[in-house]
Amino acid sequence: MARVAEQVGPAEAEREELISGSEAIAVACKLADVDVITAYPIRPYDTVMQYVAKLVANGELDCEYIVAESEHSQFEIVKHASAAGARVFCGSSGVGWMYAFEALTVTPALRIPLVAMVGNRALDDPGAFGVEHNDALAVRDLGWLLVWVDTAQEALDTALIAWRVAEDRRVFLPCAIGCDGAFLTHSQSMVKVPPPSWVRQFLPPYDRGDLLLHPDNPITVAPQVNEDWLMELRKHNDEAMKRARVVLREAYADFERIFGRAYGNPFFEEYRTEDAEVVLVGMGTLSMPVKVAVRQMRQQGVRVGFVRLRWFRPFPTEELATTLSRFRAVGVIDRDYSFGSPHASGVLANEIRAALYNSLARPPLVSFICGLGGREVTVPNVLEMTELVRRAAAGEPAESTYWIGIRQ
């Protein structure tokens, strides 16, 4: 482990700082005492690398900070560093993440824990910087843990949880933290920064054990295999992903105990759902206008709630299906697209349809494509979507998928 330059005294307490979501992730790198960080600039992720560079330059973070010559190398370097026992961090956005794709595919197979921040950004072309979730979602089938956060505070906390879960021997998988470009990466808000001693209590040293790539532990990683090996190896990832659910619950419980901040159900947040008839579901910062709209509608007697999914992988199938079965209709807001998919819906909508399929109570599900390319999801948008969900609840015929907020 690298040595943290800052010496800490016994009387440690949280302090509040005005920082952006990107800066919160950089602060988490410092608190986690990360050993190797690689960088390659692309908006909006690049704000993280700037803050990390500043921490290193100021002597606050003692790590190998490597600016690679491309995203592919960026992710390869941390993969190898992690194999050699280093705690690592990197990240990217949009097409930068796609350029790293070969490295992204091999990392989970080798059971490499690494934490990456994906500053969610629309894929080029056309060149656009605004948030869409398709970039991070591209790895959804490959063995990456995937989580979305909606505040800078949650970004910091979740990064610490991500190292804890990813580096657990039962998991050993990479984890990508989805942070909506602009709304989270570039907006400064008040964040409680915990003292390093709390973090040390929460986050044990990364111990790679018998998988450590080291001369004292002679191993070969990733030899060539044929059809008589691969299914068994894939099964390892399947089991690791299943175990991650348990490890996640443990981590959130410990986090609450040590940091005093409770996230409730780790997998998703429920907002005003107790007596709700219909709910909206979504990921990331669209929670903000949705919550404002829910409060407005509640004042007018509309019984609507909101479910914000955090962990997309592992997907909380049973928990989410049980929760959503309680309502008369469900509207899923996707900040992504899946062209030619069932019902031409968003990715999240189809995952939830699948999760609900085995439930005895299957409420009607309406899919909404909204806020693409960073377009604001507005309160009127949310009112419009809620009205469509309520109609579906009343048994009125509805489309499977609506594009909301498009000029037509």
Binding site: E16, L18, S20, R43, P44, D125, P126, F129, G130, T151, D180, G181, A182, F183, H186, S187, Q188, S189, M190, T285, L286, S287, M288, P289, K291, V292, R295, G374, E376, V377, V379, I406, R407, Q408
Partner: protein, 409 residues
């Protein structure tokens, strides 16, 4: 229970840190008063180009719940204060983030404030600023527009002076005491605290009645519907250009390149070239070197900087081999984008008088290479003009504000 919104309109790159300091300072001061807040830039403005208008925002609320309405927005729909940290922004802003010219006071709520850092008089500012249908207030913090370079921040206390002024205009948003506490926390400077306090005492305000100001309608752009767009992320190219007539002889010739009619960029300009056509030797260097191809070739072979396309970079002045043929002049000294060459053709003597008058208004802005030693010169000028709180020793206290006066064209 209240939410306050503040926007800082600034010049990309040159005032990036200044704008960030102001919005951070507002939120930190609000937190000192038990409120909460967020500070953010308008995402679409970035990556910033030199001088292009950009925006930062600070939203302050009593509770996290009230703040949520603002936390996933690009910009507020209306603001309590619009801060223009460069007075030429009052002519309106067209940023990377949108098409069309936005009046500087577009988001200012009725009865709200437009706060400008300037040495200009109220009447000169109002001549540049678009008229509104609702009343608002124009407030002024005396000082030269604060411009920095790409990697340096000119710490001339403009940030804290603006904070001090805001606490005077909207004490319910942040009190002077809270501003002082925030400055001590963020910058640990009693000098900066003193500067904020002076600005609090000296900020000047006037009420602006409906209809007062530039009544011209700013150019607009309507976004197309999805089925109106050409498929394949394809847009029509700009056609090449055309010859145009001499206003005195009617002879058609020269070449005016066609330009993007939707994104004009000229609100980037803080100074413009004034050309003395009597001394021009038609060497072509300004036309060749202009990074924005803003020069029209006239039918008689001169090069006329088209003010609908000029970004005010000053390269033409730098490359011109003739002494005093091209002079960069403070953009605040002009109220129209009309052709200088056409005016010269119509009446050469009147044009000579006009040029002599204009070139007195030297720009006080830094555009990199052109302005070495500018900061030191400015500090001396501000001290001579009695502008206190410039943050350096030897700045004289008291005295009336003065300095550069603009004139209409």
């Amino acid at each position: 229970m209240a939410t306050y919104s503040v926007e800082v309109v600034y010049r990309g790159i040159f005032q990036k840190t200044l704008a960030k300091n102001i919005t951070r300072g507002i939120v930190l001061a609000a937190v000192k008063q038990g409120k909460t807040g967020i500070a953010f830039g308008r995402y679409g403005d970035s990556p910033e180009r030199n001088g292009i208008p950009a925006k930062n925002f600070a939203i302050v609320a009593d509770s996290e719940e009230e703040l949520q309405a603002s936390m996933a927005q690009y910009e507020p729909k209306s603001v309590d204060v619009t801060i223009a940290v460069d007075d030429t922004l009052c002519k309106g802003v067209e940023s990377w983030a949108w098409y069309g010219l936005q009046p500087i006071n577009k988001l200012t709520r009725p009865g709200g404030y437009l706060l400008v850092t300037t040495m200009l008089d109220f009447s000169d500012l109002l001549r540049m600023t678009h008229a509104r249908e609702q009343p608002y207030n124009l407030a002024v913090v005396r000082g030269l527009p604060s411009f920095s370079g790409l990697w340096v921040y000119k710490d001339d206390h403009t940030d804290v002076r603006v904070l001090g002024a805001i606490s005077r205009l909207l004490p319910d948003l942040v009190s002077l005491g809270a501003v002082e506490a925030a400055i001590r926390q963020e910058w640990k400077s009693e000098q900066k605290v003193a500067s904020a306090r002076k600005a609090y005492e000296r900020v000047e305000v006037m009420a602006v009645a409906p209809g007062v100001g530039d009544r011209r309608k700013p150019y607009e752009f309507e976004l197309p519907r999805w089925w109106e767009l050409r498929e394949g992320v394809t847009i029509p190219a700009i056609v090449s250009g055309e010859a145009f007539p001499d206003p005195t002889t009617g002879a058609v010739g020269g070449w005016r390149p066609a330009r993007n009619p939707y994104f004009k960029k000229f609100s980037t300009r803080t100074m413009r070239p004034v050309v003395d056509f009597d001394t021009c030797i038609k060497c072509t260097l300004c036309w060749l070197q202009c990074p924005d191809s803003c020069f029209d070739v006239t039918p008689d072979g001169y090069y006329d900087a088209n003010m609908e396309a000029c970004c005010g970079c000053g390269v033409c002045e730098a490359v011109c081999p003739v002494d005093n043929c091209i002079t960069m002049v403070n953009e605040a000294a002009f109220t129209s984008n009309d052709s200088q060459w056409a005016a010269w053709k119509r009446d050469r003597e009147a044009y000579r008088v006009w040029v002599r008058e204009k070139i007195q208004h030297r720009p006080e802005r830094s555009h990199g290479f052109q302005q070495r030693g500018q900061y030191e010169r400015q500090i001396r000028e501000m001290a001579a003009a009695g502008v206190g709180g410039a943050g350096v020793e030897g700045v004289r206290e008291g005295g009336p504000p003065g300095g550069v006066a603009a004139a209409g064209s």
